[in-house]
Subunit: 246 residues, 2 copies
């Protein structure tokens, strides 16, 4: 058996997220369908660095799977891409030690969130950015963002629909950048709770709108109550950019 680590991009628009769910089209299902085909009907489980929600995109999701086939590592992307649907793509593959684990070994993840600051909706970006036609203060958002970094119990920024009990995570960076007519948030950290990036984005946008003060952020974290943070921004504007390992 050879363990293969691979980097996967997907357009989440027509997927019900990463994880297999009965009756739903998911990225995991699509990857396993193709790997099973390559392995002549033998089911090949695929492990990712973590789930992504429905409609969330990925530029650098990382997975691993085991194979008995004698396919050289550099041939794997092409072998998979020939069979994968047009909205999933393997960009890299490498052989790794059988102790490598895409989820447990992930040291750091980076997400991006794209907000479209405009009065006029762009139909061509409707699946890729969050249309936000309200006046906002980017300066206030930039003042609030650094308060969300550091090691904290991030219960306030976690959806109640979770089984996780340890809510402590380390956020290394919350970047805020204007690019053209978009406001781009970058979240880099040791890991993120369920919906954490989307709730942080929703909360920062409320700061931008003047509904919250930038200096309120420490108290929001301190509260450890989902209700103290802002709305969950929609999934379709979120991108898993990169997962870092040793």
């Amino acid at each position: 058996m050879q363990r293969v680590k691979a980097v996967v991009r997907y357009d989440g628009t027509h997927f019900s997220g990463w994880q297999v769910q009965p009756g739903k089209r998911t990225v995991q299902l699509e990857m396993e369908r193709v790997l099973t085909k390559i392995h002549k009907g033998e089911h090949v489980p695929v492990v990712s660095s973590g789930r992504t929600d429905s409609s969330v995109h990925a530029l650098g999701q990382v997975i691993h799977f085991d194979t008995p086939l004698a396919v050289p590592e550099e041939k794997w992307p092409k072998a998979l891409n020939q069979l994968l649907a047009a909205d999933v793509q393997v960009t890299k593959a490498a052989f790794v030690d059988s102790s490598f684990h895409a989820r447990f070994d992930a040291l750091e993840k980076t997400y991006q969130y794209r907000v479209h600051l405009t009065k006029e909706r762009d139909i061509f970006r409707r699946h890729y950015v969050y249309f936000y036609p309200y006046p906002i203060s980017v300066e206030d958002i930039k003042r609030a963002a650094p308060h969300l970094t550091g090691t904290h119990d991030f219960s306030s920024f976690c959806s109640s629909r979770t089984d996780v009990t340890d809510m402590v995570r380390t956020v290394h960076e919350v970047g805020v950048e204007e690019r053209g007519d978009e406001l781009l948030f970058t979240f880099r950290g040791s890991g993120f709770l369920y919906n954490m990036v989307r709730i942080m984005t929703g909360t920062l946008l409320e700061v931008g709108k003047g509904l919250r003060h930038p200096e309120d952020m420490p108290a929001v974290i301190e509260a450890k109550q989902r209700e103290s943070a802002g709305n969950t921004a929609p999934g379709h504007a979120l991108y898993l950019l990169e997962v870092r390992y040793e």
Copy 2:
């Protein structure tokens, strides 16, 4: 009755083109569905500057329709956009004289064609650019392009599936520009035959590949035979940018 001229954008991905066809989702059908609703069930025909093919996009399609309603001209975009599907959008509307005709009065149309010059497919642009992983000479394409301008019988660049008999058109400009990893063609002319822009693009790409010489273009026009020109480039990378009137 008041005649309304409007500018329409659409993402052609999930449309079988502009024109109503039985059992198909088309932009004309969607526009007429919404206008009929606004007119309480009274059918309102919509006339465009011309058809676009299946999967072709528009940033500046122009239409007209007649209405007995007392809606001010500046309210029309919002009234329509509230009811239109997420992949069609009216960006402007104005009252015009009842003699105005979106098709017959069109003086000039501009199309853009986006070619993605890359080895690696971009799944996020799969509905918007033509993936072209071949080495090409942009210089040769730039030398060939001006030969396609002028007033000619463009039979060589017209799909045989047409009812049109007058094949003479005037092309004012064939622009070729590299932008990032894309090659953008701009076609501006008095009008274009069925598939003409896509056949010109296909032919210019064959020049780029070295399959034809830039100086062969006049002979291709001269032949007045569809077989003398190149392949028809796919529709999903074509955009109707603008229609000009008096």
